[in-house]
Amino acid sequence: MAKTMDKVNVVTVGVGWMGGIIAAECAKAGLKVRGLERGKPRGTADYQMIHDEYRYAIRYELMQDLSKETITFRNHRKMRALPMRQLGSFLLGENLGGAGTHWNGHTFRFLPYDFQIKTMTEQKYGKNKLSADYLLQDWGVTYDELEPYFDKFEKTAGISGENTNPFAGKRSNDFPTPPMKRTPILKKFETAASSLGYHPYMLPSANLSEAYENPDGEAINACQYCGFCERFGCEYGAKTSPEITVVPTAMKTGNFDITFHANVIEILKSGNKVTGVKYVDTQSGEEFIQPADVVVLTSYVMNNAKLLMVSNIGEQYNPDTGRGTLGKNYGYQILPGVTGFFDEQMNVFMGAGALGMTIDDFNGDSFDHSNLDFIHGASISITQPGVRPIQTNPIPPDVPAWGAEFKKASIENYTRMLSIGGQGASMPHKENFMSLDPDYRDAYGVPLLQLTYNFTEQDRNLHKFLTDRIAEIMKEMGAKTVVPGNPISDYDIVPYQTTHNTGGTIMGTDPANSVVNTYLQHWDAENLFVVGAGNFPHNGGYNPTGTIGALAYRAAEAIQKYSKTGGSLV
């Protein structure tokens, strides 16, 4: 028999960026908020041994324990879905801060085009630019409407950047802190991209260029360029994360507490409202019910969708009929890239996760697609994250993968290799979706989420076009050997690609084509909010955190309003 806890105004399922933002804003407004976090507490003091590639980057110290929970995957519906038994393609978060602890800190705003992609594509290229198999839709909110919330997230996080990208949406304010250092490696890219007529700019970074105090009074320190951001926490408190910003902000109000080791297994619903959630104490195994006026799902894309599915809230998407919205429009990204081998040695081991330069000349609709067989594009970046020796053994294509020649070449090239990568948008397709797995369960007996996903023709065309553009830049940079990535075929869950999974709980203006409204309020339960990259109807050509952060701040405002007025917000 589950024990029932005292009721709170707002409960968040998960305490990472999303849970932290919702908690901070609602607690500041006087609402009693409780965060349920399946993991443990952690913070800057826990990252004192962080310069350890093996423990953190290879053995995934900070990430999800898959022995408890994973997802299943198949490329298409005729394939048997099988568990992702080891982390690979994407790195799921766990514990306080979630994936916001081990992110790199790339903090973009999606383009104005992204939010009105269907309308703008049809206006410019007609209705048949993509086949009907692609489920393109506007988001129901415009860039201009979201701009104040982008601004708010950037100020909270202290983002370092420069406002010189001609393709970006209009900003009401400059970045809170100046851009990071232009290193020799970045300058090489900048010179090459400029000479080709492109518009390079410093990548907006959550590794801060200088010490900063955010509007909530939280201090973020200056980045030391130590080269351990990717897959690591920051021992300096210089990489913005939930643990050093929104979580302490929420705590200071006295209106927020966190229950750790609390794994939510069900959302409880009565009529057209939810009443709370049920969770398992992962240490004792006991079940608890946490009643709340408002339930906010703030865990990762996959778990948010899974909880709705196991709780029977909303209608599961059916690819045969096109009916149902839950699990629809799952999106990933495609990553065209080029490696260049140089004669000179470079300080590649120095860096920061978001130290980089980017061009958007081939992102969104900033170039003409009339004669191209795809829409959208990719941001193209060089980054200097600090490359480490286990994971970086670059060899030219004609060198064997092991033995004497391998050793020599991998050592020779470690400090002589640079990569440029495109982060390509992914358009939703009717065969790419999330559902519940019929066979496999997590450690608490709840079905695993099942992913049905493959790259589409649009992805392959975009990938090819972008790879060629990136190779041109690498040549211009003076690489003696330029090795483009090979064309993509089937999506493979094994090699790391990107933790930018989107969709499944998409937002929109109509319950017929979305799970939540534009305030992220569930269409079928007015006091249930679902917040995260699952809200994206398609995936863009950037890292998602800036855009999710903006959506979360907007939702936080909506939750406060709902708490006063009730009812649907639209």
Partner: protein, 250 residues
């Protein structure tokens, strides 16, 4: 031998290059491209030289997983073939890679402690990843037994008594998935072996590989350094004496 390896090497490279470069943007790293190694010799390694600069001289390493020296010696020879000693510096044995692997197999790595190991198990497609009920510890035990069997079958000699090219032939057979294994493909075992070799060569010396930080020194990686803020704008390549995480202080 080298030519036989090229096919896979090229495929590995191409497969990972695009991903790797993109991953630099997306927040990841260069994944499966890195190799596995095998080496020879390596029975008695010189634990006395394993000074990382901060351990006292009484630091010792020993076998935590393997229970007989024949298996350990075979592993040592195999990883040395993957990452051999040369004029650049030590190979896998000199770096302590066999001890690194042994020690890792005795822990969470060997028992796949943080991975989903619940059945049912089906072979699946390559795009679905590892689907075996075998833990890494079980995979290594079987793989080493199979390598010895191959040596006996092909040359009627123990693996450790083969010459380098004969060892390479057997390793290549695993790499090309020509050896029958139970519950796992020999190609997958090869990949894990190669990856573990590189991990042992380049992990922090606290894990009993990368002896004397010579793996890092060969590669020009300075290990743990607190900050590069004063150097990062410098055009000149910086040669920095490496440091182990064991010296990290705040």
């Amino acid at each position: 031998m080298a030519d036989e390896r090229k096919g896979l090497s090229r495929r590995d490279f191409l497969k990972t290059t695009g991903i790797a470069t993109g991953a630099l943007v997306g927040g990841g790293l260069i994944g499966g491209l890195v190799g596995y190694n095998v080496n020879k010799g390596g029975v008695e390694t010189k634990s006395g030289t394993k000074n990382t600069g901060n351990h006292d001289a009484t630091s010792v390493v020993g076998l935590m997983f393997f229970t007989n020296h024949a298996d350990f010696n075979l592993l040592s020879q195999a990883v040395e073939r993957i990452f051999p000693e040369d004029d650049l510096g030590p190979g896998a044995i000199g770096l302590g890679v066999p001890y690194f692997i042994d020690n890792q197999l005795a822990g969470n790595y060997g028992s796949n402690a943080r991975e989903y190991m619940i059945g049912p198990f089906f072979a699946g497609e390559a795009t679905q990843g590892y689907q075996s009920r075998l833990t890494r510890a079980e995979m290594f035990r079987q793989g080493i037994t199979k390598m010895e069997e191959e040596a006996q079958k092909r040359y009627q000699k123990p693996f450790v008594d083969l010459d380098g090219s004969q060892m390479d032939e057997i390793i290549t057979a695993f790499q090309k998935n020509e050896v029958e294994m139970k519950g796992v493909s020999s190609e997958f075992f090869f990949r894990v072996l190669r990856q573990a070799t590189l991990e042992g060569a380049y992990a922090d010396p606290i894990y009993n590989g990368n002896n004397n930080m010579d793996g890092w020194r060969m590669k020009g990686f300075p290990g743990h350094q607190m900050a590069y803020i004063n150097l990062i704008e410098d055009e000149k390549f910086q040669k920095i004496e490496p440091k182990s995480i064991s010296t990290m202080q705040h």
